[in-house]
Symmetry: C2
Subunit: 341 residues, 2 copies
Amino acid sequence: MPATIKDIKEETGLSLATISKYLNGGNVLPKNREMIEAAVKKLHYEVNEIARGLVTNSTRTIGVSVFDVTDMFCSLILHQIGIELGELGYGLLIVDASNDPERERSNIRFLVNKKVDGILCLPASTNSSVLESAFNAEIPVVLVDRQFRDRSLDGVTINNREAAAKAVNYLIKKGHKKIAVICGNEESTSRERFRGYRDAMEDADLEIPKEYILNDGTATTAYGYEAMQKLLKIKDRPTAVLCTNYGINLGVIMALNEAQVNYPEDISVVGFDNLLLSNVLKTRLTVVEQPMERFGQKGVEILMQRIREKKENKGVNDDGHINVILSTHMFEGESVRDLTV
Amino acid sequence: MPATIKDIKEETGLSLATISKYLNGGNVLPKNREMIEAAVKKLHYEVNEIARGLVTNSTRTIGVSVFDVTDMFCSLILHQIGIELGELGYGLLIVDASNDPERERSNIRFLVNKKVDGILCLPASTNSSVLESAFNAEIPVVLVDRQFRDRSLDGVTINNREAAAKAVNYLIKKGHKKIAVICGNEESTSRERFRGYRDAMEDADLEIPKEYILNDGTATTAYGYEAMQKLLKIKDRPTAVLCTNYGINLGVIMALNEAQVNYPEDISVVGFDNLLLSNVLKTRLTVVEQPMERFGQKGVEILMQRIREKKENKGVNDDGHINVILSTHMFEGESVRDLTV
DNA sequence: CTGTTAGCGCCTTCAG
DNA sequence: CTGAAGGCGCTAACAG
């Protein structure tokens, strides 16, 4: 059995209170300090955070729920959040929804039951009801990357609509007129990016044939692959395609390679996120870059603020939300052909 | 404040014991059951796992420490472990070492303080001392993928030496004689794979020029990139290169693309792990496939066994270790040129 | 089947 | 600066 504070009381002859105070950084007589330190070492004493959490009603632990750990986007954000939280002396409890809303719901409940001080969520679900248990327990929640459809919460995102429009405008500037889009039909990000695509096309008075819109699946590599195959079969093939996320982009590249269709020669490709993939491909991809580190940074920052407020006000205040909008940047790779020359 | 068991006692008039029993699946009179259920719903009651853990001295939570969350290999295993543990009704606490042994050490301590019932570890460190705090607390630990240099623990691995030899023999069978290797110099996997490479070369009486051995860095994409660049500058260029892990493989592909060196025409490439990359590249990679799902499955299985044993024997028994060796498989892509034809 | 009583390991008043 | 006492929320014997 691991040593408890009692064992070190026996060892030192001091009282529990004194030892506890020492462990929490309080002032203790030098000789007592030494005695305690010696006992701690000798008995391999480690604080029982469970017991501590019970009395302080705070675990110094943040729950992080991601829609899919194997998704590069998620794991990069997890990485960043881990660093951020580590510096603040907070631990993090990571749970993976594997893109399953039901699992996500029970994951959140798990976090609530574990009494995390706050939750950062990259939701798989589109409806805020997955967070019900957190709301009931009055645990602060901050969304990262995605928002819900039914109501907006504290969060950090980019302006997805604008970003997609920027990408399309880039294509237009390069002389493209026949531009297709492949995007998911669920998450807020996909939906907003689709709107951005449409905005830009309309603003440029460009027609959008029905078969140029591929948005009847989830934003995965598998869907990107499938959608691109469809696109290649169209008689009036588009000269460019917008992939509204990293996964789709991967799938598109797979389909192009398989069909021996070259980019940018035969078709131009614009995607999102300048992650690993782009560096491994012979032809570097042109993409909308998101500030990956800042998602985590800002998310943690907002969450900490909320936790502080809750402690001070003795309750969650319900007046409005903070929504940080990060800026994006077009990375010019070599996957877009310039048709104006 | 979230509701406690006391609140639902007030609400129902029942005693704490009855309510507790109900919550833990015990038998209760139907009408009482209904009362409790109603109160639970009304008050949004959720068990406080912290308090429960304190008294049961078990958190039904497993700690998982990975060397790098952003590493595809890690995240796939995390995914699998999450599913496995979910089915068993266990939660998991994920911590990320970011390849930093110091961080890993404090992460493990964090898990210990959180009183996890067991730990699954994909270590960043090469020495078992990072797990000291877990050993002291007598928390069962199972290693996944990697072993330590100083002593072996319960774990699940592949036979890395054999796997690498298999890959080299494949190259030899295809007529290659000038085979280089790029591998890390730290983790057990890299070291073993290097030995396997040497075994196979020696068995075939093939010479290994010094400059064919690139093993003075960490097994990362960056190192793979750098090492491949060096390899390309050699006068007597090898006809094939063995990449001892996925990251290195990525880096190698990057370097080849950049230098406009084609594979398998100009140089053949064999790597490890048939992950995303292979599907995205035009030329499918020939690799040693590891059974990704089984790492997690077996790891969880062993850990659960240890936890059970500990509970029964009231202590960790120290007689020997379980080391499960998973089998591997050569996946034949198109990245190896057949020199025998 | 239900209720009463301890106590898990720790922190936090409050006296001394 | 130190000690004694109470309690965080829950479960685990018991006794009824």
